[in-house]
Amino acid sequence: MATTTAVPDRVNTVPDTATAVRAPVPYWVYPLAAAGAIFVLLPLAGMAARVNWQEFPQLVTSEASLAALGLSLRTATASTALCIVLGIPMALVLARSSFPGQQVLRSLVLLPLVLPPVVGGLALLYTFGRRGLLGSTFEAFGLQIAFSTTAVVLAQTFVALPFLVLSLEGALRTAGTRYEAAAATLGARPSRVLRTVTLPLVLPGLLSGAVLSFARCLGEFGATLTFAGSLQGVTRTLPLEIYLQRETDADAAVALSLVLVVVAVVVVTLVHSRAGWAPALGVR
């Protein structure tokens, strides 16, 4: 980080929380916190208790399971890439510029976070579907989105994009504009400032945002079901496969659920250990 050391120390005003004196937490907080933790962990334990460990290897390596897992990983990767491409500019605009209606725009952009995914799926359907706003335009170009893997990627990107934008916007605000201003006064053009100063500074926030988006993509269910359909190897991602298996083979559904939980835990742990939540969220 040559840029950091080149800047005088007094500019670095971010307080170091590790050495700050901590005020004690009220004692009654602990039992409630424990109850909260148990509330989250107990259902996972309940599910793990249901797993048929003897048949677990066969259940999770069946053709349908592997097809679903493979599709989930591929689509989540593609959607995360799309989130990065679209999310970085969105976060930059929200954090580094001001224009009338910005607050409203931010709320609207974050809408997929609070919308039920099924509603998101319907919205996509009425936009990209064959009879949707843009559907006939796409069809004229020979692009068929309905029932294709593209539809899955669109659904996942729709629900995951706000995660990346939020994380990155928080990181951008925390990082501040001093280094960027310095680079600009030294004659760097905006694109160069972005590439050599801004993005390296917020890389942890970008990383954790990307990983969170990836996790959200992996878990996407409602919008995919509504918008993309369900066909093995094409649109049936892991959550859809679990939903279907549950009809006939509860053991397979539980085994696959555990796989999804493990993947999610790995992903969340990755964010925690690598980037840390604090810079990503802008709370230090």
Partner: protein, 275 residues
């Protein structure tokens, strides 16, 4: 530096809303993963609460319209009883009943899911078949692809949506396509008949295979086409009173209403066949 305080609050606000958002997102993720396991019983009150005035009817989703009507009639005839209807997929309902959900009557869309409940002896007596349902081809209004038979659905150009073989309507779909000697190159295999219907109603799919009653319910939005092989897969709907019922008399009376003349008439009105 008059700007400083304002920026500070803005940062805080963003931080707080992002934290909230991430928490929300995490909750969403967890909900998806956990509910997908489908093992949890419904958040219904414990079966110990015996309130004689309530009758819990667990019924297949396809019975929604007809049983809602019949429940209203039942409440008119028995003013002391409140009928509470729980509509869901039959396999979900069977799982709920097996996990101890307080049900008095179970009406399943197929014998297999009823068997799950009768096997451990949870049904009182033999279940009675009270309705039948057959598949119909469903197409958008005007039938733009001119579909007239099941064999037409073998065409790759026609985007057909069917139920996955794991669910009852999918099993029926397999039977009729075997009978017709065709393979349907479906663009999607949905896990519920409503999802199949939805794809045709929205115009995403050119055709689908759903039950006659579903087409009847969606009247105006879609068209139904009868086909010769439908008789190969007649779906029987069994109904039974449950042993654990807290209100056996009312449960018995409700079963009698559904299987009796009034029930048969209502079922016929909704497109069901009666045995």
């Amino acid at each position: 530096m008059g700007h400083a305080p304002r920026r500070n609050t803005a940062v805080k606000r963003t931080a707080r809303s992002s934290l909230l958002a991430v928490l929300l997102g995490g909750a969403l993720l967890a909900t998806t993963a956990c509910s997908a396991a489908g093992q949890g019983p419904q958040g219904a009150p414990a079966s110990g609460s015996v309130s004689s005035g309530e009758l819990n009817v667990f019924a297949a989703a396809s019975l929604n319209g007809v049983l809602t009507d019949l429940a209203a009639d039942f409440e008119d005839d028995h003013p002391d009883v409140t009928v509470r209807l729980n509509f869901a997929g039959s396999s979900d309902l069977a799982t709920q009943i097996l996990s101890g959900a307080p049900a008095d009557v179970f009406a399943s869309a197929n014998p297999e899911n009823m068997d799950k409940v009768t096997a451990p002896g949870m049904a009182a007596g033999e279940p009675v078949t009270f309705a039948t349902n057959v598949l119909q081809i469903v197409v958008p209004v005007g039938n733009p692809h001119g579909i007239t038979s099941l064999a037409d659905l073998a065409d790759q150009q026609i985007k057909t949506v069917i139920c996955a073989p794991q669910v009852p309507c999918g099993a029926a779909t397999q039977k009729v396509s075997q009978e017709a000697g065709i393979e349907i190159p479906a663009v999607s295999e949905e896990s519920s008949v409503t999802d199949v219907l939805g794809k045709v109603v929205s115009g995403e799919a050119d055709a689908g295979l759903v039950y006659v009653t579903d087409v009847k319910n969606a009247q105006g939005d879609v068209e139904g086409i009868d086909f010769a092989e439908a008789g190969a897969a007649v779906n029987d709907y069994p109904i039974a009173r449950l042993v654990e019922s807290a209100n056996p008399d009312a449960a018995e009376a409700f079963v009698a209403l559904v299987t009796g003349p009034e029930g048969r008439k209502a079922l016929a009105d909704y497109g069901f066949g009666t045995p």
